[in-house]
């Protein structure tokens, strides 16, 4: 318990790349202290426009989620894994086909032309 509380209080925003590195309505990948984080930038989306989700595809074992196609299924934004085509919800990483599969997600934001991802340290 104490451990997780500490984590929560020490969460910080980390600068990962510039707005110009993003590709509209598509994904790019950043290296974040050993993790591979896929960033999807949807400037026209109604609520959230930037999503950070694990680049590792558990079904194929390859790091390819950031190269997937973004879609909207039943009102939820998803990315289709490029190799075997499972859909993962951008919001929370949940796989729509396999209930026990869920990708890591991070809070992400655009701040003054800089892309920031929230990490706990």
């Amino acid at each position: 318990m104490s451990q997780s509380n500490t984590q929560r209080t020490l969460a910080t925003w980390k600068n990962v790349c510039n707005e110009g590195d993003l590709v509209r309505n598509s994904g790019v990948v950043v290296w974040l202290d050993g993790a591979q984080v896929a960033l999807f930038y949807l400037p026209d989306a109604e609520a959230q426009t930037l999503y950070a989700i694990d680049n590792h595809d558990p079904e194929s074992g390859a790091n390819v989620i950031g190269r997937g196609l973004v879609g909207n299924i039943k009102g939820e934004l998803v990315v289709a894994a490029p190799i075997y085509k499972q859909h993962y919800r951008l919001q929370d990483g949940q796989c729509l086909e396999t209930p026990h599969q869920r990708l890591r997600v991070w809070p992400a934001r655009l701040k003054g032309g800089v892309v920031e991802v929230q990490v706990s340290c």
């Binding site: 997780s4 990948v29 109604e46 590792h56 790091n63 190269r67 997937g68 909207n72 998803v78 190799i83």
Partner: protein, 853 residues
């Protein structure tokens, strides 16, 4: 008023104890059958919330909340005449006074239905308490598991039955390392035989779940690495942070015992065929009832009992309960498992057919009767697509086919599957709600034309959901049989077929996806079905560079990076080698590039060279070098023109009658870059010996003494099809004109991802119709089709050359946009003098430090 009072006074009181799935179904059935005209209905529930779906309980951990698991709208229990007492436990039944006793007082009943369900059995084990004695039955249990999992790394489920594996799945979805400990020597001992258990074990171990068979937990003590230590015989042990018991269920018959009702030999309220207990005023249904000494732990028989009792209480004829089909079909931890009828072949004289596939850990067993005439049981692990057919054989006593084994063999050879049309009207489609094919047909005849509405009307597929596939098939088959068109919408965003969208794009001159979606679609963003389909249509019509900003988000993975993604996330690169003709200089360049970037090299079937193992960030450099040497992209990644294969022709060959290479170059140069519903392959042979195998291509050209014969709509691949002779002895210009028309007509009218062969077979009017359109211009489309093709040809530009000129387009070709390193998880090993991706099993050979450096 008086009349109303009088009728109120005549109402009897009916009490249902228990608001689980079966108790709830009984209430629903009672209301539907008009019970409220005769009874005041009181429902008592020990749990604080109304009935919820226990079959899908594990989804509570993957996003569903209690409300979405609820079985009905709250409004049902607000129906006048119905009172739901939530969180009120019935403490006693006073049979002489006919009253139930709760902490709040007594309620008198005329009729009483016990639907108290079951409780998890926890064997008495020393040290089992708190987080080492969790169970998996109610939402409250799941809350307790979730709380225990908060600081846990590993969780163990005791019990490898159906519910135990569900519980293991729940632990896994909470992020724990999950283990299953089973007393019996196999998983799901009730439903599966030995081989089935083995196959299931292999599959779920591959998913990272530990399986420990033939182990009885003797005690639980404090652990060293984890909170607890489970001690087995022979000094074996397993440490864990929490333990969930799922070692079977027991009928919740405490009230009935207290009230002196007769109890079955294995527990449960003894009932007769009308679900009546030994007290004529008391019924019992579901898991708390014992019929003929048997207990029924599945939802379908419980519902069957609930329907029977509801009918009886409403004075309607009820079918007697005479046992139930315990067949089940499930997805456990993502693995298909099915068990039908006499899965263990206990019936005297029963014979079995078995199919074992150790590569995929699939297993199927078919059990037939002594006479070899009927299906009496089956076991399926790994693929439930056989389930519906087998169950229909069993339930409807359909005679076995001549080769019974074909029912469980991989269905490559056109196995005799039972189409929805072959089912009799009496065939049960949904066994939970006892919905027959006849009832579905009746609903359709009554005007129901929507699958969702059909489910709501008939209740089909609203129990365990196992019949979803079959229901859809029957529904669509019956609609078509009635001449109703079936919804062929591309996806949820477009209520049009590909052909209709093509026409809209073409006629209205739409050039972006967003414009098409705004004008003719629904919602926003699109999905991975409509985006690539529309991307392909736009390319077929307007041929704009596919990496233009508005087109990038539409492309499927391979098109976005203009290379073919391989299993480890690296790409293969295929430069165009028109007609398979290449100079020594160019061969050397390919060799040098392959050497420089250490690419695995292989000759393709289309007379070109494939270079494998390039990482994303290497693609622009590789293409820079190839383009500098005069190569163009080969479009190997696209649904587009691939190759034009050719033999060497009259230039060299002593049999050749035309210059097939020259014609191949002409064709490839014309159609390169053409995007279509599926890939396109061509070939040109210089004589009738047909060395270029043109008759296996979408467009095949074979030289004659007088010119060229044109063949169309052949293909190799999974289902080879010989191309058909379309026109003979054509001169060069006519040949090209016909190919223009043929390809554009295909692009205009084919379904998405439909190859020319399938398209051609689906054309009404067949080959003659196609000849009329293309050769005789019967639709007057000829000139238009040719002009459309000419536009695509004129706009051709090598996509890679285009992208290399534009830094914006190259932005995506970076493995990490903020770091220069390659993907550290990509590893290769050497084999036969080249490198290849490492296999998962070889990965542990690599030192971890090397990756982090």
């Amino acid at each position: 008023m008086n009349a109303n009072n009088a009728s109120l006074n005549q109402l009897q009181t009916l009490i249902v104890v228990g608001n689980g799935m079966v108790g709830h179904h009984c209430v629903e059935q009672l209301i539907e059958r008009g019970a409220l005209d005769h009874y005041q209905l009181h429902v008592f529930s020990e749990e604080p919330m109304r009935a919820y779906d226990r079959v899908h309980l594990s989804e509570y951990f993957t996003g569903r909340d209690a409300e979405s698991l609820a079985l009905s709208d709250a409004a049902l229990y607000q129906t006048p005449g119905v009172t739901l007492h939530l969180g009120v436990q019935v403490l006693d039944i006073d049979r002489t006074q006919r009253q139930v006793v709760t902490a709040q007082g007594r309620v008198t009943y005329d009729k009483l239905v016990l639907a108290t369900g079951s409780y998890p059995f926890v064997p008495p084990i020393e040290g089992a308490e708190g987080d080492s004695r969790l169970v998996y039955r109610t939402l409250q249990d799941l809350d307790a598991i979730r709380a225990a999992a908060a600081n846990a790394r590993r969780g163990v489920v005791v019990g490898g039955g159906l519910l135990g594996l569900e519980a293991a799945n729940a632990l896994k979805s909470l992020g724990l390392e999950a283990h299953v400990v089973e007393f019996a020597p196999r998983l799901m001992p009730v439903q599966l035989d030995d081989f089935g258990g083995l196959a299931l074990k292999a599959q779920i171990e591959r998913l990272g779940v530990g399986v420990h068979l033939s182990r009885a937990t003797q005690s639980i003590s404090a652990g060293e690495q984890y909170r607890y230590r489970m001690n087995f015989a022979n000094d074996e042990f397993l440490e864990t942070d929490l333990i969930v018991f799922s070692a079977g269920i027991r009928a919740q018959d405490a009230l009935a015992r207290q009230a002196g009702l007769e109890i079955g030999p294995r527990g449960g309220v003894a009932i007769n065929d009308e679900c009546r207990s030994c007290d004529p005023h008391i019924y019992a249904i579901g898991e708390c009832a014992s019929w003929n000494g048997s207990l029924f732990g599945l939802v379908a028989p419980g519902y069957q009992m609930a329907r029977g009792v509801a009918a009886l209480l409403c004075g309607q004829g009820a079918e007697p309960f005479v046992g139930a089909d315990m067949s089940t079909k499930l997805k456990l931890l993502g693995v298909d498992v099915g068990s039908i009828g006499d899965a263990h072949a206990h019936t005297p004289g029963a014979r079995s057919y078995q199919f074992i596939d150790e590569a995929t850990a699939s297993y199927r067993r078919l059990v037939v009767d002594a006479a070899g005439k009927q299906v009496i049981g089956a076991v399926l692990v790994g693929d439930n697509s056989y389930y519906d057919t087998l169950l229909q054989y069993l339930q409807n006593g359909i005679a076995l086919p001549a080769e019974p084994a074909s029912l469980i063999l991989p269905s490559s050879a056109g196995a005799p599957t039972l189409g929805p049309g072959a089912l009799p009207e009496s065939a049960t489609v949904c066994s939970c709600h006892n919905v027959t094919k006849g009832a579905i047909c009746a609903a359709i005849d009554g005007g129901c034309g929507d699958l969702g509405v059909l489910k709501a009307q008939t209740k089909a597929c609203t129990g365990c959901g196992g019949c979803a596939g079959l229901l859809k098939q029957v529904f669509e088959h019956e609609l078509v049989a009635r001449g109703v068109s079936v919804d062929k919408s591309l996806c949820e965003h477009f209520a049009y077929t590909r052909q209709e969208l093509y026409a809209l794009v073409r006629v209205e001159g739409v050039i972006t996806f967003d414009e098409l979606l705004a004008k003719h679609g629904r919602g926003h963003t699109g999905c991975d079905v409509c985006k690539p389909a529309v991307g392909s249509i736009l390319a077929s019509c307007w041929n704009q560079p596919i990496l233009d900003p508005s087109l990038v988000p539409l492309q499927d993975t391979n098109d976005t990076f203009m290379a073919n993604m391989q299993k480890n996330g690296t790409y293969s690169v295929v430069p165009r080698i028109p007609g398979g003709e290449i100079t020594a200089e160019k061969l050397i360049v390919i060799g040098e590039v392959a050497k420089k970037y250490n690419l695995y090299t292989k000759i393709t079937g289309g007379q070109r060279i494939d270079l494998f193992g390039a990482q994303l960030h290497e693609l622009p450099d590789i293409w820079g070098e190839l383009i500098a040497a005069g190569f163009e992209t080969g479009h190997a990644y696209g649904k587009s023109t691939r190759t034009v294969k050719s033999c060497v022709g009259s230039t060299w060959c002593r049999y050749g009658v035309q210059d097939s290479v020259k014609m191949a170059l002409l064709i490839e140069d014309r159609y390169k870059g053409l995007r279509s519903p599926h890939k396109l392959k061509f070939a040109v042979s210089g004589c009738t010996r047909e060395c270029a195998e043109a008759q296996s291509k979408d467009v095949g050209v074979i030289a004659t003494e007088k010119g060229w014969n044109l063949y169309i709509a052949g293909n190799g691949g999974m289902r080879p099809r010989h191309a058909e002779l379309f026109a003979t002895d054509l001169d060069d210009a006519t040949l090209i004109r016909y190919i223009d028309r043929f390809l554009m007509f295909y692009i205009r009218t084919a379904d998405k991802l439909q190859r020319t062969s399938v398209w051609r077979e689906s054309l009404e009017g067949g080959l003659d119709f196609l000849k009329d359109v293309i050769l005789h211009d019967s639709l007057g489309l000829g000139a238009e089709l040719e002009a459309q093709m000419q536009l695509v040809v004129d706009r051709y530009e090598c996509e890679w050359a285009n992208a290399l000129k534009d830094p914006e387009k190259l932005k995506r070709f970076r493995t990490f946009v903020n770091d220069k390193r390659p993907d550290p998880d990509i590893h290769f090993v050497q084999e036969r003098g080249q490198r290849r991706p490492i296999m998962a099993a070889e990965l542990n050979l690599i030192a971890v430090t090397e990756e982090l450096a």
